[in-house]
Each structure stands twice: as C-alpha cells, then as structure tokens.
C-alpha cells in the first residue's frame, strides 16, 4: 500500500494515520474533555508529520530516512538504531517488571507483555534472517 504513496509522504502519512487512530481511541473513550484530547493529538500528529516532511528535504542521513529514500548505509544505520531501541525497551521493561514485583504492584503485567513481545520479536528475527541450511 505504501508504494502508492510518494516516498516523502510515506512516513508523514504513517504518523497521520497513527495520530488519527489514537485520537479516535480518545473519542471512543469519551469523558468530559474528549474533544480537547482528540484535537490535541490531532495537532501533535500533524505537527510531527509536517516536521518529518520538512526534514525529508534535508541533505542528511536523517532527511533520507524521513523521506524513505535511504541508501544501503542509511538503511543499515536505521536498523542498528532500531536494535538499540529494542534493547532499551527490553531493559526498561525488565527494570519495570522487577520494580513492580518487588513493590507487590498490580501493574506488573504490562512490563511482562512488553518483555515477551520484544523477546518474541528477537526470536522471530533470528528465525526469519538466519542462514538457510544447505541442500
């Protein structure tokens, strides 16, 4: 689907879509100030989408990644950054789970869920990208 969208618009379009979904969740949630939250998240998403679009015009690695026009080195850079991000998420989830367990808190399970998802994601990556066995 994304291939139908011009490269410079792909990431901004993704941000707008995510913002719209999140804003809709606040709309469904309701409450006294639901329209305020929907407007706020809409503005945040549009601002970030505009920022990404403007950044994509920049002659830099960040610009190429924002514009979905990255070459092999820039794609590798992005992959390594996502790997760091995954490690951060896993470490933060482990710390959160440990603290929640020690504090006998009821909110331990979201940390366990994040830990499980990142762990499964890692194993999935190994399964998909590992070298295939010889004939």
């Amino acid at each position: 689907m994304m291939s139908f969208i011009r490269p410079r618009w792909r990431k901004p379009a993704g941000v707008i879509l995510a913002g719209a979904v999140f804003a809709a969740a606040w709309g469904i949630r309701g409450g006294p100030h639901w329209s305020l939250w929907v407007t706020l998240f809409g503005i945040v998403a549009l601002t970030r989408a505009l920022w990404l679009y403007l950044l994509s015009g920049d002659d830099s690695d960040a610009g190429a990644l924002a514009g979905s026009l990255a070459d092999e080195r820039q794609k590798s850079l992005s992959q390594r950054s996502w790997a760091v991000s995954g490690r951060f998420a896993m470490t933060a989830a482990f710390i959160g789970l440990t603290v929640a367990v020690a504090a006998k808190a009821s909110w331990w399970w979201p940390f366990l869920a994040i830990l499980a998802v990142t762990g499964v994601g890692y194993l999935l990556g190994i399964a998909v990208y590992q070298a295939q066995s010889a004939d």
Partner: protein
C-alpha cells in the same frame, strides 16, 4: 580496508555529489566510504569499481588496512 574512491574521483574531477548521483547513493555515503568509515556491500563495491572501470580488488584493498585510516 583501503580504497581508492577519493583518488579516482578527484582524478576524474568529480565532486562527491556527482559520484553519489552516479552511484545512486547519498553524498554522506560517498563521504563515509572515502573515509573508510563504511564498507560498501558487495553489489555497491562492484558498482563503484565498474564506474571507475577498475577491478574491484584494485578499488578496495583488504591487505592495506592501516593505510586507509
């Protein structure tokens, strides 16, 4: 790993931006390859070698690691 990208480019009077456009990569990638901070993939190494009309082992010399720094 030493490479002769900068040497070949300057001999032909090309800017880094010209070479980047010819290779279909970013200017930043050309800069990284020339400085030895990035080792190109095999396909890109062959593309570079073909562009300069040289064998790939003349463009990239694994024996001369220290000289490339």
């Amino acid at each position: 790993m030493r490479n002769r990208v900068r040497e070949q480019r300057t001999q032909r009077g090309l800017s880094q931006a010209d070479l980047a456009a010819a290779l279909g990569v970013s200017r930043q990638t050309v800069i990284s390859i020339e400085s030895g901070r990035y080792l190109p993939s095999l396909p890109l190494a062959f593309t570079i070698a073909r562009f300069f009309n040289l064998p790939v082992d003349k463009m990239f010399d694994p024996e001369d690691e220290e000289a490339g720094r």
